[in-house]
Amino acid sequence: MSRYTASSHILRRAVLPLVALVALSACADKPPASNPEDLRAYEELNDPLEPWNRSMHQIDQGLDTVIFNPTIAVYQTIIPEPGRKGVTNVFRNFRSTITFANDILQGEVRRAVTTLGRFVINSTVGLFGLFDIAARMGLPYHSEDFGQTFAVWGMGEGPYLYLPILGPSGGRDLTGYAIDNLGIDAMAWVGRADNPFWWQIAYFGALATDTKSNAKPVLDELKASSVDHYAALRSAYRQNRAKEIRNGAPAPLPDFEDYDDEDGDGDLFSGLKPEPAEAQTAARTD
């Protein structure tokens, strides 16, 4: 039993039953082919498990209220701001293996060299990653993960998935997340070799606290400004992921010319269309 890792525990106790639940749960009703407009909207949304995802979203919000928000409040009280930045830096440094491996897998040699350089500099001069000295030397932080690698390899995002604690994800990104954290992350291996279970609980617990603490202001604001928080979060997550996958390359401008569609009928050039045949005939007879 000592070889039991948190990862395999989590996999057996949580992930597999969740997958079974997904399979059993009711799916969102797909509009019939006789309604092409609704069908297109449904396919663009790519959230066939929406009812299930929404209940997971509610559970996640509940967990935030009961567990994570109080934890974050304590964390932010005992560690003031420069310290929390240090914690984030340490985690980023720890987890460089994930970014490095995925830089390589995506063929981004320059970025891989940057990641390696950052690790060497910050682990030594930066006191085990506490200070991001490398960024000041012109090697800024970036992150990569296996979900992005899959995307670069041409894989589609898969259906949208929302999980408690992990939050918004999708078929592709969740698979990538599992590979990164159970396979690539050096810290997970360190834990596995020695004192597995509690070490990993502590590691992932601290990581979750750091991540959620950093994300809280933005997520709170999204919650306050939205009416359907679930839908707004789904949209924001996907847009942000698309940007991460592009690695900062210029975004293809979305084809949303509705801004210039004065009569709002979805057709930019509707004002230029020839009059309907009857109207033209009527005009001529006058």
Partner: protein, 201 residues
């Protein structure tokens, strides 16, 4: 979204400068710079009370943004089936939602500045302004502005922070509500409640 709010706040300015020099209204880079510079001095660091700050923010939001076009966009295909009265009601509520939810973040401004990095053509009359928000520690956040040329000069139709478009996010939010509520009236009710809760007393 806090970042989004701060970005907006950076653009706020008083209305005094307009008559003196109107050239910035047609040059995309100048347009963003004008609002950024004047915004910091006009509201964020100005020695005025919160009510006055909100009032100035509303004026500037109306002046800098094409709110009717944004409204049309965020409602999507339901817009053409919406009555004129409901359209008007929505535009008013949408403005209130943005003004109130964003103005709660006035106090969080800690010296950020906006640096324009470049512009790209965007559609027939549009420009995309690429910029970064730089904080005092040198950290940057990407911010892009979609501008459209209107009769009175340039207007912002969307702000994209770290790849997340404000217009697209609101659109997904509102169209989801419309779908569940079976129409505009349900959305208007919910927005009315949201505004009532957010209105400063």
């Amino acid at each position: 979204m806090r970042v989004l709010a701060l970005t907006l706040l950076l653009m706020i300015s008083g209305t005094q400068a307009y008559a003196a020099d109107e050239l910035w209204r047609t040059d995309p880079t100048d347009f963003i710079n004008h609002f950024a510079e004047a915004g910091i001095e006009g509201i964020l660091t100005a020695d005025i009370d919160d009510t006055e700050k909100i009032a100035r923010f509303r004026t500037l939001f109306n002046d800098g943004f094409d709110i009717p076009a944004m409204s049309r966009f965020v409602i999507g295909r339901t817009w053409r089936r919406t009555s004129d009265a409901d359209k008007e009601a929505f535009i008013t509520l949408f403005e209130d939602v943005i003004v109130y939810t964003w103005s709660r973040r006035f106090s969080e401004y800690t010296g950020q500045t906006i640096e324009v990095r470049g512009t790209t053509r965007d559609g027939n009359t549009g420009t995309l302004v690429d910029s970064v928000i730089v904080d005092e520690g040198g950290q940057t956040i990407s911010a892009q502005w979609r501008l459209r040329m209107r009769e009175g000069g340039l207007r912002i139709v969307d702000v994209i922070i770290e790849g997340v478009s404000m217009a697209i996010t609101y659109r997904q939010d509102y169209t989801s509500v419309i779908r569940q509520q079976g129409g505009m009236s349900g959305l208007l009710d919910l927005l009315g409640k949201q505004v009532a809760e957010a209105t400063p007393s």
